[in-house]
Symmetry: C2
Subunit: 154 residues, 2 copies
Amino acid sequence: MAASSSEARLARWRAAFKSGGYRLTSARVAVLRVLAESQQALDATRIFDRARVYEPRLGLVTVYRTLETMLALGLAQKVHCPAQCARYAAVEPGHNHLLVCRRCGRVWYFSGDDLGALMQAVAGESGFRVEDHWLQLIGLCARCRAEMETEGAV
Amino acid sequence: MAASSSEARLARWRAAFKSGGYRLTSARVAVLRVLAESQQALDATRIFDRARVYEPRLGLVTVYRTLETMLALGLAQKVHCPAQCARYAAVEPGHNHLLVCRRCGRVWYFSGDDLGALMQAVAGESGFRVEDHWLQLIGLCARCRAEMETEGAV
DNA sequence: GTGATTGCAAAGCGTTTGCACCGTA
DNA sequence: TACGGTGCAAACGCTTTGCAATCAC
């Protein structure tokens, strides 16, 4: 949260790029710096705008490529944004949590009522008012596991 | 899960459209039918392809509009798909769950270790192998709440 | 009959690709 | 110096919008 920790984070990320065999160009450092300094989830365009302060010759394409590398290195993650996820499933009344098979796309519903306690704990600590929650478990259903074994695929 | 339940679901949805003041056109019914029958999370294009079997004159645009109405009526929900969410946040080592402020975009991390038990329970019941989980709480942070009060906005 | 709803075409937006030039190691 | 990395422009795919024709109520 403090300014010093953003410096530490940047140093860690530079090292990760190095040891991953990636060159440390000024364009990449500009992108790293923006995310290291920010406590927000930013989209590519906003990262682009902020990073151009550090590196005016930066192109938007490089932002995308750098972000992809950061995902691969585990330095950044994508954040859920309800507006942009483009697959739809029926709502099962009373069951708001999902189990999604990554292979066949089939969904199952379950109710994780114990989540209420977690949400309250989080809210109490931080003053954050939780309005919505998003819990989905992703994996392989029994059928797909069986099919993949017989096919010998991964 | 059974075929009969898909009929019941369709009937429920037809009623919901009616009581919501929406007309029951053949195009809409085709889209409803596809989602009622499917136990999968489908994207708009796939819904379009399947719905054209019922209503060959259907247009893709109508699929989008019908889905939007279904979201508004709470009949369908969007499903997380890692590939398509386009906001990025730094990864905080060891803390994989997120608290996202919907107003300022700021993120906080927390570790919900009790989720492991839930995931195991789900896996045990269904034969589902959970490979990944996705938990994000969305709401308003303390600062934004305060700012919105002074501004008198929603 | 009338106003909501539709489909087409085109615009819009975010993201990816092709390619010649550039800069780090 | 060599080759990974860059930026520009164009292509791309998904989604939304404008508008006249259509259809449920």
